[in-house]
């Protein structure tokens, strides 16, 4: 891991206190995103992807959630040590976030113009004319046709894809260094997905914005991301650049995930599935949390927790089976 990372998360643990006990939603993850890099975070529902994103912005609802330990270094500062006021300057200004459902992440009572201009005014100031000009520019940048008219419209009046582009426009309006996208395409149909993804790719190329892209769709992932980390039950179990991860997955869970996604170049009637279900995080299985569902389980898997180890070329895996295979 280089030190040039714009975002460096180390040993982050975020736990939720529930009536049934402590849920370790994020259980000691390390993640580095470099400038202009697009890091994908993949995994099933409830594996801690969104909690990682919320932790980065320090928006974990408290109670019940709490960041128990770890550091989140962003441009040389530990975000977890900033005051709430300093943090407000980071949110939106330096790290912005795009949410899954554009229809519910936009305020129904305000026009698009109000919502964009509020964020610009809040972080950058300026008079009405300047702010409005900036808002039109930014809508233009996300290829919204007729931005002047859109400014006066309400979220309900736009289609999902349009609205998601507006939400991206709001997010990038203050030119953040890091854009967190939490499944931004999941609620959209395929053609809209393509538009949004192309837009994100262009933004990254043109503005050098780093991306943390949360998804469970491997197709979308390989389209957007340069690197990816696979999460399972609160841990990162494999991390590599996107080609290596898709072509040569090392962790049994990653291979299973890839096997479970539909592909056009392969003729099959039934998709593979991973047996069992996501473990209960209040009482996860001992050892490797994936072992009850794993096809390559070894005796050691039930006893020890595998650590993330580099296999060369920045490809990191947390699996015993693989290290045995590598040794052989």
């Amino acid at each position: 891991m280089g030190t040039d990372g714009i975002l460096r998360i180390s040993d982050l643990r975020t736990h939720f206190l529930t009536d049934d006990g402590e849920v370790k939603a994020v259980d000691g993850i390390n993640l580095t995103i470099r400038k202009g890099e697009s890091m994908g975070l993949v995994g099933e529902s409830g594996c801690g992807k969104t909690v990682t994103a919320y932790s980065t912005l320090r928006l974990v609802p408290n109670p019940p959630g709490r960041i128990v330990s770890g550091q989140i270094h962003f441009k040389g500062r530990d975000l977890l040590k900033l005051s709430e006021k300093e943090m407000r300057g980071v949110r939106g200004r330096e790290i912005a976030m795009v949410f899954q459902e554009p229809a519910s992440s936009s305020n129904p009572s305000f026009t698009i113009g109000n919502q964009i201009q509020e964020v610009i005014r809040f972080h950058q100031g300026g008079n009405r004319v300047q702010v409005r000009k900036k808002a039109i520019e930014i809508l233009d940048a996300v290829r919204i046709p007729d931005p002047v008219r859109i400014l006066t419209q309400y979220p309900h009046e736009l289609s999902g894809g349009m609205l998601q582009r507006v939400m991206i426009a709001i997010a990038i309006s203050c030119e953040p260094d890091l854009l967190i996208c939490d499944e931004p395409t999941t609620a959209l149909d395929v053609s809209m997905q393509a538009q949004v993804i192309n837009l994100l790719n262009d933004l990254r190329r043109e503005r050098g914005t780093s991306l943390l892209f949360i998804t469970h769709d491997l197709g979308v992932l390989s389209w957007v991301c340069t690197h990816a980390a696979v999460m399972y039950a609160g841990n990162i179990i494999e991390q590599a650049d996107i080609r290596a991860l898709v072509k040569n997955p090392q962790h049994p869970y990653t291979s299973a995930l890839i096997g479970a996604s539909p592909r056009l170049d392969r003729d099959c009637q039934v998709l593979d599935s991973i047996r069992g279900s996501v473990p209960n995080l209040t009482n996860p299985p001992g050892g490797c949390k994936f072992h009850p569902r794993c096809d390559r389980v070894l005796p050691v898997c039930t006893e020890q927790v595998p650590q993330l180890k580099e296999k060369g070329d920045g490809h990191c895996v947390a699996c015993f089976a693989d290290s045995e295979g590598g040794a052989a």
Partner: protein, 294 residues
């Protein structure tokens, strides 16, 4: 979940659209519209009382006391020979000042308390709501009565004491709405773009809860008018020359067997006004409901 992604004919969206939609649904509430019309008439009556009243409501005419309805005095006269119609007309001013004034005060303070309690939760919620529970636990008349007893009967005391009674109810409604709104993704999105708590509370949450608060306020105007009438009837409310209908009913009580008109007309007016605000509020609520369901 009904979410209008696509814009379609006849379906208003957004704030302007929602208002139009709201108006369209409200128009179908015939009883509610009736209530609204009565309320409007009431407002006009209060505004133009000097032009509508046949005579000065305080002009005493001892030669013509307790006269039955006639052309000159359509509702008859009271025990001092004052024109009852004029007194009833001027009474609308008191009723509206008390009803709307006290509800405005309790909506403001109750709303503020509810906003803070709902948004900040934890200790703030516990402290604010427990304090209000104490107020809530008092029978409203008794509480108002105690306040009047302390401050003496006057228009401002009556408004204030009825307002205090209404604060917990408003606080609860607002708190409940805030609790549901603050979990919405757009509030998280606002926080993720760096907006502070106060701005979120007043600029993002408040506009989304104004409508239910208006509905509740309209309904509680009716209750406030009832409390005012009750207090005045008990002799603890308005004093002459501030003619309250409740006070007139109370005065007329003495002549109920020989001269029922005295109590009858103010009594009917109380009934009509309370009915009007109630059905108006119900209509607003029913017109609002479809949106609350989503």
């Amino acid at each position: 979940m009904i979410r209008g992604h696509q814009k379609s004919e006849g379906q208003g969206h957004g704030q302007g659209g929602a208002l139009r939609e709201f108006y369209r649904r409200f128009k179908k509430q015939h009883l509610g519209v009736t209530g609204a019309i009565i309320v409007v008439i009431l407002f006009l009556t209060a505004l133009f009382a000097p032009f509508l009243a046949p005579s000065d409501p305080q002009r005493v005419d001892l030669s013509n006391t307790l006269a039955p309805p006639s052309l000159k005095h359509p509702l008859g006269t009271d025990h001092l020979g004052r024109d009852l119609l004029s007194r009833v007309i001027y009474g609308t001013r008191i009723v509206l000042i008390v009803g709307i004034g006290s509800v405005a005060i309790s909506a403001f303070f109750g709303g503020l308390a509810g906003l803070c309690a709902g948004y900040f939760g934890k200790t703030a919620d516990g402290m604010i709501m427990r304090c209000l529970d104490v107020v809530w636990a008092f029978p409203p008349i008794l509480l108002a009565l105690a306040l009047v007893a302390v401050r003496g009967a006057s228009l401002s005391t009556v408004v204030l004491s009825i307002a205090v009674v209404g604060i917990p109810g408003h606080a609860r409604i607002v708190r409940g709405s805030v609790l549901s709104i603050k979990e919405k993704t757009y509030i998280m999105a606002a926080r993720a773009s760096g907006i502070g708590h106060r701005r979120i509370l007043f600029n993002h949450i408040l506009p989304n809860i104004v409508a239910p608060v208006i509905v509740v306020s309209t309904l509680s105007i009716a209750i406030c008018i009832m409390i005012e009438a009750t207090l005045s009837f008990l002799g603890l409310g308005m004093r002459p020359p501030n003619d309250s209908w409740g006070f007139m009913v109370s005065e007329g009580q003495k002549y109920l067997r020989t001269y029922p008109y005295y109590s009858l007309f103010p009594g009917i007016m109380i009934m009509v006004v309370v009915f009007a605000f109630n059905v108006f509020g119900d209509g607003l609520r029913d017109a609002w409901d479809p949106r609350l369901k989503t």
